[in-house]
């Protein structure tokens, strides 16, 4: 359309002859969007890393059989005391098995549900590590290492050896790093463990793991589920914990309640187990978004300001354009296209600057005890951030350009011409 060509040509001339102002406005957008992209990529990357740290290795629902007192004491069952006020002292926990009753059918039932990504058994037990004459107390957990890796990123925390090594070795054990250091053990060595009953078993060390939490790394070790069952002299149905991972974490709470009701077991969902962690995530997200929005709004005001000034300077031009046959709408289009050109150019430059800064951060070394697999700062390159960034650049320049350009549209040329 010829009209648009003329309008864009005028807009271009205005922008190029006022290059310094144009550059200032464009840089305003560029820095706003660039800072937004950098910040949001970096912050969500950090958030995601922290989420992964806690959430990926914790089950969405942890099912176990808890030792606790009966909710109904015998006195409650006795009709004669129905309407009396009963006080029972020194209630003791009910005698129940540590294992989950009927664990295999429950596992099958859970694994067949559509919203369950996987449910896997564990066997937790207390043991002693024997180093010469010294016995160190600790935990041994029987797991299926392949499934643990698939569902809970178990492999990320193994610093030597692989889950497969453990899976293939019937007498293998994966020691916590702190524990291994304390006992001066290395991969391939043998370690003797003793059950609470006093049975001693030699196991071969196939690897070390580091969870990042020293208290765990100093006492915890893993072996195959079957190995632990054998050590304890229990049958293959003996399982103390079931860990469930869902497709959608938000269903965890409801499902845990349902499991508790259905099987009479204790089921804890991830949000209840990590309540303060969730709060932290929410607050970090809020900070990220409020800072980003502030940056974008500041950029928007910059554009508004500069367009406003531009329109004051161009009053004569507006009058002359209107007198020679440009309609108010044409004039508005001239200034709107200037705003949008600033938005597009500034926005794209901002995306590029944001991308390169985020890349830079992504390559900065970041080594921490807690996260053996993390070598550089975590950055989340989500394409959505870039789409949001450029969209906001366009929207904010549109809004910032709209008000001044509407004034230009309504400006009465007679007043300007006669005002001289």
């Amino acid at each position: 359309m010829i009209s648009w060509k003329v309008i864009l040509n005028i807009a271009k001339t205005h922008l190029l002859t006022k290059f310094k102002q144009t550059a200032t406005a464009t840089l305003g957008v560029t820095f706003g969007i660039g800072a937004y992209i950098t910040l949001v990529c970096f912050m969500t990357g950090l958030n995601k890393m922290l989420d992964d740290l806690i959430l990926d290795q914790t089950p969405h629902i942890h099912i176990y059989s808890e030792i606790e007192p009966s909710k109904q004491q015998p006195v409650d069952l006795y009709d004669e005391f129905n309407n009396t006020f009963n006080v029972v002292h020194s209630i003791k926990p009910k005698q129940i098995q540590r294992k989950i009753h009927n664990a295999l059918p429950i596992l099958n039932y859970l694994n067949e549900k559509d919203n369950v990504r996987g449910a896997i058994p564990q066997l937790n037990t207390q043991i002693f590590y024997i180093a010469g004459t010294i016995e160190l107390g600790g935990n041994l957990t029987g797991i299926n290492p392949i499934e643990e890796s698939r569902l809970f990123n178990f492999q990320n925390y193994i610093i030597e050896g692989t889950p497969q090594d453990l899976y293939r070795n019937d007498n293998g054990i994966l020691l916590g790093r702190g524990l291994a250091q304390n006992m001066s053990l290395k991969v391939g060595d043998r370690v003797q463990i003793s059950t609470i009953e006093g049975n001693i078993f030699p196991l071969k060390i196939v690897g070390f793991f580091q969870s990042g939490i020293a208290d765990i790394d100093n006492i915890q070790s893993f072996a195959n589920l079957k190995t632990v069952q054998r050590i304890m002299g229990e049958p293959e149905t003996y399982v103390t914990d079931i860990n469930v991972k869902l497709h959608d974490m938000s269903e965890a709470f409801n499902m845990s309640k349902q499991v508790e009701k259905q099987f009479g077991l204790k089921a804890v969902d991830v949000e209840t187990a990590n309540a303060q962690f969730q709060t932290g995530t929410t607050i970090r997200n809020m900070i990220t978004y409020s800072v980003s929005i502030t940056l974008l709004i500041v950029a928007g005001f910059g554009i508004y300001n500069i367009l406003n000034m531009l329109i004051y300077e161009k009053m004569n031009d507006i009058a002359i354009l209107k007198a020679t046959g440009f309609s108010g709408r044409d004039v508005q289009r001239i200034f709107m296209s200037q705003a949008l050109i600033i938005g597009v150019v500034g926005g794209i430059l901002g995306l590029l600057i944001g991308l390169s800064l985020a890349n830079l951060i992504n390559n900065l070394p970041f080594e921490t005890e807690a996260l053996p697999t993390v070598k550089t700062f975590p950055v989340n390159f989500n394409p959505w951030f870039f789409i949001i960034g450029i969209t906001f650049a366009l929207i904010s320049t549109f809004v910032a350009g709209y008000l001044p350009s509407r004034r230009a549209k309504r400006m009465d040329p007679v007043k300007i011409i006669r005002g001289q």
């Binding site: 003329v6 205005h14 004569n316 031009d317 002359i320």
Partner: protein
């Protein structure tokens, strides 16, 4: 003779700061090829009248006809089109777009009209500049030329769409006598040779006396 511009019973009030009756029952017509000047003291309403006739000011009572078609009450877009196609403007303060070249300034109204290709428009614009003997300035920035030259550029721009009428608001008011003579001669020549219709508001008695007809205004009325 065809009437190019006709005003019928035009009244105009200024509402601020106090209600003031600026134009009182203005009725007159301009025929094709006429060179008309409007004279009167400052504040008699002659500029106000010109801006109503130019369609830029729409806040008045009465009727305005251009080429025997009613202009009063048309929507803004339509008025812009009329200004673009039928009316050429020359102001006292030459009003060029200072960041554009002389040639671009002249071409702009034609580009807006969009009836010709850019090459044709450029050719036309160069022709107009040649007629006004400023074709050497074509590539210069409008802010870099002298006042008299600017006024001639403004006339070239007014001519580019071959308008029905050219209106001038004190087109020589800001020029020395040499340049104002020059501008008058250009107007006269256009009127004689190309049959252009001209309506010029002026203070300059010498200028007015040399036109075909003088409309004298006083206190918002045309003196007969």
């Amino acid at each position: 003779m065809k009437t190019v511009l006709e005003a019928k019973h035009i009244d105009k009030y200024f509402k601020k700061p106090v209600l003031f009756h600026v134009l009182k029952d203005i009725t007159f017509g301009i025929d094709q090829g006429e060179f008309v000047s409007v004279m009167g003291k400052s504040g008699c309403g002659k500029s106000t009248l010109l801006y109503i006739l130019s369609t830029m000011d729409t806040d008045y009572e009465g009727e305005l006809y251009l080429n025997e078609a009613l202009v009063t009450g048309q929507p803004d877009d339509k008025l812009s089109y009329i200004r673009n196609k039928h009316i050429g403007f020359v102001f006292q303060f030459h009003y060029l777009l200072s960041e554009f070249t002389v040639l671009e300034n002249v071409m702009l109204p034609a580009k807006k009209l969009g009836e010709k290709t850019f090459e044709e428009i450029e050719h036309d614009a160069m022709n107009k500049l040649k007629i006004l003997e400023i074709d050497k300035l074509a590539r210069k920035r409008a802010s870099r030329i002298s006042g008299g030259e600017k006024q001639r550029v403004a006339i070239a721009r007014a001519l580019i769409n071959s308008p029905s009428i050219i209106m001038g608001d004190e087109p020589t008011g800001n020029l020395d006598s040499y340049n104002s003579d020059n501008v008058f001669n250009i107007f006269k020549q256009l009127c004689m040779e190309e049959g252009l219709t001209l309506l010029v508001v002026t203070h300059d008695m010498d200028f007015a006396e040399r036109t075909d007809r003088i409309i004298n205004m006083s206190d918002g009325r045309i003196l007969q």
